[in-house]
Assembly symmetry: C2
Homo-oligomer: 89 residues x 2
């Protein structure tokens, strides 16, 4: 959480992490609603999901809580988008 004692650099990293994590929510909601995955690249979606999964394992092995939290949330969202891509083609 942003707190008055946080230095500017930490806030910048926090905002970057929130953006690259929660940005997947509108895509997941849009795809849930439209069931349209035609323009999504399956290779992109698969390798993104695998990559985020590896970041999550990396965070767990390092015991780095921000890395774990950000990648756990991202992983749930990108897995959902990948599952819809596999389902709707």
């Amino acid at each position: 959480m942003i707190h008055p004692s946080m230095p500017a650099l930490e806030i910048l990293g926090f905002v970057a992490a929130v953006l690259t994590t929660l940005c997947w929510l509108p895509q997941a909601l849009r795809t849930l609603r439209t069931k349209d995955t035609k323009s999504l690249s399956l290779v992109t979606q698969s390798s993104l999901t695998l990559g985020v999964g590896l970041w999550l394992i990396y965070g767990i092995l390092l015991g780095n809580l921000p890395l774990i939290l950000a990648n756990a949330v991202t992983f749930v969202l990108v897995v959902l988008i990948l599952a819809m891509k596999l389902r709707y083609g």
Copy 2:
């Protein structure tokens, strides 16, 4: 680069970074070829681009070369996808 002296944890982080960076290449190529961006969420693509841009600035301010390289490459690819989304709708 992967090198025999790299510990397993560093290799894991390296593979994760390569995947979450280069995964954007097939999406960019697919969209260049098909000009089809209908299923892509504009909010996702915009906030991803902004987030990656902030990660890049964060890496530059920290002087962290892997963070700079990964996010510079990612930024070029996601800006290209965002530009096509804005162009083709």
